[in-house]
């Protein structure tokens, strides 16, 4: 039971969910605006490398974060150029970004640091450290609430709070602002936006900037918060799990949070199950647990858990009629 529901697992769930949540929200902005983004993985990896390299050279985690965001937005703009301006195939562009980044990060890492593709180990101010939420002392006397507050909610890196705050903010932007209304319309019927006299390209580029920003934060969190530096292939498919979470959540912000938490939880449990021997079952096949996010998504797509209908225009380059 401890393995499944202990404070340790729940804390770990929050930490592991954070990059998934950020990346899935990044994908949400992009896909809701009609651009399929299979390159979340690549952008996150690029951002993680930039964060690790810059933080180690400059000696500051904040500069690392800044570098991560810049690199990720640039990659996002590359994807934008290919799929919006050049009207290319969005899947191909995304896959290309994934491959190019995976190679270039190791190449540059080896050239600059000579550590076999890693960046140097980060210490102290080079990392984003955990912060304690205010008022722990006051609340700690209250049973359960105090325990939850100090044990679970407090004591995470700042980017964890950023990620979870991004959920209500995203909801508000999407459904309560002009920008959000136009963004959603872009993903469903860009021609309606165009004939209303609004630029489709400009709107989609802006969505991709936000996508890049969030992916950058996700990557920075991997290198500066979850680990202490960049290592080869450190995203390990998180971009794809984020994409699965996005589909699982039916492209809705609050659902995205729960999907990310669920998939993060499965990952946390999977890690703790490693090598454990249970009565009757024997050793739990960890690969099965790791595959669960994908299995659940496929089950959803097959129509067993409601219906996942993507934004209608996603993946289709916009070309004016006639």
């Amino acid at each position: 039971m401890e393995v499944l529901f202990g404070l340790d697992v729940l804390n770990s769930t929050i930490r592991l969910s954070t990059p998934l949540l950020l990346a899935a929200l990044a994908g949400l902005y992009s896909e809701r605006a009609g651009i399929v983004d299979i390159g979340l993985e690549g952008k996150m990896l690029g951002a993680a490398f930039a964060a690790g390299a810059a933080a180690s050279v400059a000696g500051s985690a904040w500069i690392g974060l800044f570098a991560a965001v810049v690199i990720s937005i640039l990659l996002s703009m590359l994807h934008g150029f290919a799929s919006i301006t050049a009207r290319g195939n969005q899947i191909v562009s995304g896959v290309a970004i994934n491959f190019v980044v995976a190679g270039v990060a190791i190449l540059l890492g080896q050239t600059w640091f000579g550590l076999g593709g890693k960046t140097p180990q980060l210490r102290g101010a080079e990392r984003l450290l955990e912060i304690d939420l205010p008022g722990i002392e006051l609340l700690s006397d209250i049973p359960l609430i105090g325990w939850l507050y100090s044990g679970l909610l407090s004591g995470h890196g700042i980017l964890v709070y950023v990620a979870f705050l991004a959920v209500p903010i995203t909801w508000w932007i999407l459904f309560r602002t002009r920008f959000g209304l136009r963004l959603r319309a872009l993903g469903e019927n860009p021609a309606a936006v165009d004939t209303a006299g609004i630029s489709v390209s400009w709107g989609r580029y802006r969505a991709l900037v936000i996508c890049g920003l969030l992916c950058g934060i996700a990557g920075a969190y991997l290198a500066l918060g979850l680990s202490a530096g960049f290592v080869k292939d450190m995203t390990a498919g998180k971009g794809f799990i984020a994409l699965a979470a996005l589909i699982f959540a039916k492209w809705k912000p609050v659902n995205v949070m729960f999907a990310a938490l669920l998939f993060g939880y499965l990952e946390a449990v999977g890690i703790r199950m490693q090598g454990k021997i249970f009565p009757v079952i024997g050793e739990v096949p960890v690969a099965m647990i790791q595959a669960l996010p994908y299995v659940l998504t496929v089950v959803l797509l097959a129509g067993f858990i409601g219906k996942a209908i993507p934004p209608k225009a996603s993946g289709i380059p916009y070309v004016k009629e006639r």
């Binding site: 309560r176 602002t177 002009r178 920008f179 959000g180 209304l181 136009r182 959603r184 319309a185 469903e188 019927n189 021609a191 309606a192 936006v193 165009d194 004939t195 209303a196 006299g197 609004i198 209608k312 004016k320 009629e321 006639r322």
Partner: protein, 517 residues
């Protein structure tokens, strides 16, 4: 508001507008004056340049040369934003609506009135209320677009334009998707708008609409504006002649039918749709060799499902169909391929989805459904030369333009696409010919040709079953007319039936008495 003291400047004044797309001259030196507060029709065949001209006016394209004046002021329209600012609103043929947005969200899109929606929404609601009352445009503003029938979706488009302060409304083929009743309602809305000082430009290729609703009419042919008339001073024959450049037979010449034995027999046929709703309800009739039986009715009263069942696309719930005296049921389920072999040719209602594969070439489309035939295949290989020769012959015989067998079907105009389908189905020497909406989206010149071909098929002894929502078409072609309402055949009339008589039957009113369903 129009200047009340001197004669107001025209709402739209175009002079010398030209536009080329590569070697194609879509608009050639066009002059057009549309007076304020009038309904101005622009008529022309498909590809005459009507839509290009209106796209220039709405800022989708830039004219290569020429000037645009709105309310007497010369302006440039580089994009749709500028057109909207100049008071021009457009209702496109294919609606520019976001399906899973509410009516309100669609209306305010692009005119939200502030970065945060709340501010704009309250104002928009009040304004919409006013517009709906002023112009009798009732729509539930909180309904989702996908839940609304097409007629209402169109009203949303009109509301969208009015909400942006449009004084000039351009409507591109607005009645193409509407039932006759919805179209009538739309025309009443036009009149209301005109009476309140709005200017309406109606693009259409239906002569009837021009005569029914417009004040003035301009005719386009091959990229040029060939004439402008007061509608009251012209007639259908003159307009048709101007459109096509030659006289057109609007009424089809045909001899009396000489029907022979029954080739198609439908008995107690019942068809349900995917949802299990009965769409064809215990229908029985026959079609004899050498006659055209027309099925009239407002779209959605079961005609489509009837055709699908007879052509073997769907399996009927109960009842029987005999083709040339033999029962169709030997496979126990729908099998259009087997039926084709037995002489059932089918020109489907929806040529884009059922009749053609749009990205395929003309010659491939010309053998679609018959590709396994010995004439076109030997073993597992297609006989490319035979297919090419066959396509050439059909192009010549049916005057399909452009005469290029390798051109994708999607690059042909509506009329020529229909001719591709007709040539394929008619040249197979069928026993029974099923034709759904033969002239939907087809220009006048091609309509004449298609009607003639249908009569020729009849005279050649084919049994022809014709389904059309165009009452005129049924009345001029059919030797017998069956009227469908709510899945049932509610009446049969001979060739002389009046429009009013059939119209009453189409509304479900039989012998002066309303049918209660």
């Amino acid at each position: 508001m129009a200047d009340q003291f001197s004669k107001a400047a025209p709402a739209i004044e175009l002079s010398g507008i030209s536009k080329n797309f590569g070697p194609v001259q879509a608009n050639k030196d066009i002059d057009l004056v549309v007076e304020k507060g009038t309904i101005h029709g622009i008529i022309g065949e498909n590809g005459a340049g009507k839509s290009t001209l209106m796209s220039i006016l709405y800022g989708f394209y830039q004219a290569d040369s020429g000037t645009i004046k709105i309310d007497g002021n010369a302006i440039k329209i580089p994009d749709s934003q500028a057109a909207i600012a100049a008071g021009i609103g457009m209702v496109h043929q294919h609606f520019m609506l976001v399906k899973n947005f509410s009516v309100l969200e669609n209306v305010i899109l692009g005119a939200e009135g502030g970065a945060i929606l709340n501010q704009g929404i309250a104002l928009a609601k009040a304004e919409l209320q006013r517009l709906e009352e002023d112009y009798a445009l009732d729509v539930d503003i909180d309904a989702l677009i996908e839940d609304l029938p097409v007629g209402l979706q169109q009203r949303v488009e009109i509301l969208k334009a009015l909400f942006r302060g449009a004084d000039i409304l351009i409507l591109d083929e607005p009645t193409g998707v509407l039932t006759p009743a919805e179209a009538d309602h739309l025309f009443r809305i036009f009149e209301q708008l005109r009476d309140q000082g709005k200017t309406i430009v109606l693009i259409t290729h239906k002569l009837r609409e021009i005569m029914a609703i417009t004040d003035d009419v301009s005719v386009m042919r091959q990229g040029q504006m060939v004439a402008t008339r007061k509608t009251s001073e012209t007639n259908v024959e003159e307009l048709a002649k101007l459109m096509v450049g030659r006289s057109v037979l609007l009424r089809v010449d045909k001899d009396e039918a000489i029907p022979k034995e029954e080739k198609l027999t439908v008995k107690n046929l019942t068809v349900k749709d995917d949802r299990g709703v009965v769409m064809v309800d215990n229908v029985s009739f026959g079609v004899r060799a050498g006659e055209i039986v027309g099925i009239a009715g407002v779209a959605g009263n079961g005609q489509s499902e009837l055709m699908e069942a007879i052509s073997g696309i769907v399996t009927p719930e109960s009842g029987s169909i005999h083709l040339d005296g033999k029962l169709i049921d030997e496979y126990g389920s729908a099998d259009p391929g087997a039926l084709r072999k037995r002489g059932m040719a089918h020109v489907p209602e929806d040529r884009h989805h059922v009749g053609l594969v749009l990205p395929f070439s003309e010659r491939e489309n010309a053998i679609l459904g018959y590709q396994g035939d010995d004439a076109y295949t030997s073993g597992m290989f297609l006989k490319m030369d035979a297919i090419e020769a066959d396509a050439r012959a059909k192009i010549e015989q049916y005057d399909i333009r452009p005469p290029v067998t390798s051109l994708k079907a999607s690059n042909f105009s509506g009329g020529n696409q229909q001719k591709i389908v007709l040539s394929r189905e008619m040249e197979r020497d069928p026993v029974v010919l099923l034709i759904g909406q033969p002239t939907r989206g087809v220009d006048v010149g091609a309509i004449e040709f298609i009607h003639k071909r249908i009569i020729e098929m009849r005279d050649a002894g084919k049994a022809v079953l014709l389904v059309s929502v165009e009452l005129d078409e049924i009345r001029s072609l059919a030797d017998r007319t069956l009227v469908m309402f709510a899945g049932k055949i509610v009446g049969e009339r001979g060739p002389g039936a009046s429009e009013g008589e059939l119209g009453l039957l189409m509304a479900g009113i039989e012998d002066g008495e309303e049918k209660h369903e």
